[in-house]
């Protein structure tokens, strides 16, 4: 069998390493499974590169992957800032890539590059659902805390935008730096404002801190977050206070996916030290999507691009993948809630079924 090289790029060091390593493990799992499959026409080799979640480093490794003729396709980027900085590079070198975790809409919608695909949804989905769901729950007043990266700013933008028509009101918005430790000043203000919900547009560390410190200051508002906090790290970090936190994520729970259980089992069996994290399943699906394309047309960048462009009704771990005309997968976001130390799909949860009520007001 010939060997086909596929690049995986994500943050393996620095603050977002947990997600990056989870994604890498998942993609690696897909490759291992495929290589163990006697029916596969090729042997696959995953070239793992670290973008450090830094755009300039991202461009370097993207160039490295894209200019290496032996690399046929890429599973790329978790960080939006890096994802958006590298699209030109992939287009220039005509390397087909599938984004596995960055959720900034502009990565697919901001250009017309045939090479750029994305299996995960964008923050538009998450924001829309968040506004709809929370107002349906009867929430009227909100406070937004978001970090000042593309991620947080974007989440804030879409959430506020979609909230307007629903009649919900944002009483205050606090942009904060992603590595800020202390939120007591902001939260004391929030305590004064008495909102129904605190909406957090940021990643796990931010979510953990806001959640724990809300407790500390005796704030009884609910907390909702976005996919950035939907990690086991959030629950581990915020411990008891995480209970009842709501999050929106553009994927369904593993248990809802047809092959979700199989993935969990295989992942556990493969002996990775780290969790797959929220976006692991997307990396896994992206890897399979690419390998299937290679199986179909061989290791040829142009042909693979074409195959990927036409993806419709592809059965993947994360459900059916359909690319729209911007090669963006159409996914629905889902609501999750922390129940007894686990992220539970809202409809399945005691909160969703009405057995329990969210604590606080």
């Amino acid at each position: 069998k010939d060997t086909v090289k596929i690049a995986f790029i994500g943050p393996l060091t620095g603050g977002s390493a947990a997600a990056g390593v989870g994604g890498r493990n998942s993609a690696l799992l897909a490759v291992q499974q495929r290589n163990a499959d006697p029916a596969a026409k090729y042997t696959y080799d995953l070239v793992v590169l670290d973008d450090e979640c830094k755009p300039n480093v991202g461009v370097q490794v993207a160039t490295k992957a894209a200019s290496d003729r032996a690399i046929t396709a890429g599973i790329t980027h978790y960080c939006s800032a890096v994802g958006i900085a590298t699209v030109d590079t992939y287009a220039k070198f005509k390397l087909p890539v599938v984004v596995w975790g960055a959720i900034l809409p502009e990565i697919t919608y901001g250009n017309d590059y045939k090479q750029i695909h994305r299996v995960n949804g964008t923050m538009i989905n998450e924001g829309r659902l968040a506004a709809k769901f929370l107002t349906e729950q009867g929430a009227k007043t909100f406070v937004v805390i978001h970090d000042t990266t593309d991620y947080g700013k974007g989440q804030n933008k879409y959430f506020s935008e979609f909230l307007k028509p629903t009649g919900g009101e944002i009483v205050a918005t606090f942009p904060v730096s992603p590595d800020q430790q202390d939120f007591t000043a902001e939260l004391t203000r929030i305590k004064e404002l008495k909102p129904d919900y605190v909406f957090v547009g940021g990643l796990t560390p931010l979510g953990v801190r806001v959640r724990s410190q809300m407790d500390r200051l005796g704030i009884d508002a609910h907390m909702a977050g976005v996919s950035g906090i939907m990690t086991s790290g959030f629950i581990e970090g915020a411990a008891q206070s995480s209970e009842g936190t709501v999050s929106f994520h553009n994927g369904a729970p593993l248990s809802r996916y047809a092959s979700g259980q199989a993935f969990s089992d295989a992942y556990a069996k493969a002996g990775f030290r780290e969790d797959p994290d929220a976006y692991g399943p997307f990396a896994y699906s992206a890897a399979n999507l690419i390998m299937d394309a290679v199986e179909k047309v061989g290791p040829d960048r142009a042909k693979i691009t074409e195959v990927l462009n036409g993806t419709k009704g592809y059965k993947a771990l994360v459900g059916e993948i359909n690319f729209d005309n911007h090669r963006q997968n159409i996914v629905d976001a889902n609501v999750y809630v922390v129940q007894d130390g686990k992220w539970v799909y809202w409809p399945d949860s005691d909160y969703g079924t009405g057995k329990r009520k969210l604590a606080g007001k």
């Binding site: 060091t13 670290d50 755009p55 300039n56 461009v59 370097q60 490295k64 900034l104």
Partner: protein, 401 residues
């Protein structure tokens, strides 16, 4: 021009040493070997190969320092710096030509060269002017943002855009001058750290310059044609990064020459004097403020120009690049290279920028390994890889003077 023995004795304070054939050979070979090693580093893929190269490099450093032969090699390069520089230039060109089709390697080389240009600027500020600039990346980014605004939104010729990057970076530096000139040491360090954090946060929070996403920058098109579109030179297929790498190398050569000329002149002595002893310098009629400001602003010009070209090469700029961490990387380069030694910036740039990339295969452990390597180098060469030599002046300048 041959000097008489007596002159030579005056000049070097050492017994006169004729320009010997082995010495000349050494001055030619050492830069060749260094660039050969760089080519090797760019070429290798396997982790053990990288490891071997690093070990060889460390061993070479030790030999250069501790063995008689090593010391005479170093001495030869120093006394015949003209020959050594010429050899280095040719070796660099050969290296670029060898890698002419290799996008990635050229990108790395160009990056190293541009960081080294900034390194020359930073050296002028720190090693000459004595101003610890912990915001180099901020000024580098200011250059890039300037390029984004001017090249993206005006028709200004791109060579002028480069210059503007330097000028704007220096102008913004003026804002910091007052506190910088009033104080020194750790206090200056703090002023620059604060400025870097401030600028980065401001760029990110405020959306005027694109907020966290930053801005796109058109490719460098100095004479009307975009470097990004270059695909062949003289009939050879080349990467579009080749012209960038050449431009970056040329910029480094210019910065190097300018820096050298400043160092070996009254200006260099004045800066050294003001840095080492402000009181003595001012008693002899030098104005410390003037020279600190000169060093700081000149340095900023170089950093800004380098940043502008870097921005155009990468095609974008965003606030991340202005952060404290990035500034520390630039600082690391000049400290590791040897404060005040311009060649050091190239060598250390290769270590700091290329080495982590080459360690990709050990993935999440690479930062750890990298940190260990840097510590190892500094632990055994406290002055950096290539410490700054004593100033040579006038008749004493050997080689191609």
């Amino acid at each position: 021009m041959r000097s008489t023995n007596l002159d030579a004795a005056i000049a070097t304070g050492a017994p006169p040493q004729a320009r010997s054939l082995p010495g000349t050979a050494a001055a030619i070979l050492v830069p060749l070997a260094a660039f050969g090693a760089l080519a090797g580093l760019l070429q290798v893929h396997e982790q053990w190969e990288t490891g071997l190269l690093v070990l060889a490099f460390l061993a070479a450093l030790v030999l250069l320092d501790r063995s008689r032969a090593g010391r005479s090699l170093a001495e030869a390069c120093r006394t015949q710096s003209g020959i050594a520089s010429t050899s280095a230039v040719l070796a660099a060109l050969a290296l670029l030509w060898t890698f002419r089709e290799d996008h990635y390697s050229l990108l790395m080389v160009a990056t190293v060269a541009l960081y080294a240009v900034a390194g020359v600027g930073l050296n002028i500020q720190m090693a000459f002017g004595g101003i610890a600039n912990f915001a180099a990346a901020a000024f580098f980014s200011i250059g890039a943002y300037t390029a984004a605004v001017l090249a993206g939104h005006t028709g200004l010729p791109h060579l002028l855009v480069l210059a503007a990057g330097g000028v704007v970076s220096a102008l913004i530096g003026v804002v910091m001058l007052l506190p910088v000139l009033r104080t020194r040491g750790h206090y200056v360090a703090l002023v620059t750290i604060a400025f870097g954090v401030l600028l980065r946060t401001l760029l990110e929070v405020n959306d005027t310059f694109g907020g966290p996403q930053g801005m796109k920058i058109p490719g460098f098109a100095p004479f009307g044609s975009d470097f990004g579109d270059v695909a062949t030179i003289a009939g050879f297929d080349v990467s579009f990064y080749l012209p960038y790498a050449l431009a970056a190398a040329a910029l480094f050569a210019l910065a190097f020459l300018a820096g050298r000329m400043l160092e070996r002149s009254w200006v260099g002595i004045a800066m050294d004097a003001v840095r080492t002893d402000e009181i003595a310098a001012s008693a002899f009629g030098l104005s410390p403020a003037r020279w600190k400001a000169t060093a700081f602003l000149t340095g900023n010009v170089l950093i800004g120009v380098a940043g502008a070209l870097y921005g155009m090469m990468n095609g974008f700029v965003n606030p991340n690049g202005a952060g404290f961490g990035e500034s520390l990387i630039m600082l690391s380069i000049i400290v590791l290279g040897g404060l005040g030694n311009f060649w050091g910036a190239i060598v250390a740039g290769a270590v700091i920028i290329i080495l982590p990339e080459k360690l990709q295969s050990i993935q999440e452990y690479r930062l750890l390994i990298f940190a260990v390597v840097v510590i190892a180098i500094l632990r055994f060469r406290p002055g950096g890889i290539l410490p700054r030599p004593l100033r040579t002046l006038g008749r004493q300048q050997g080689g191609a003077s």
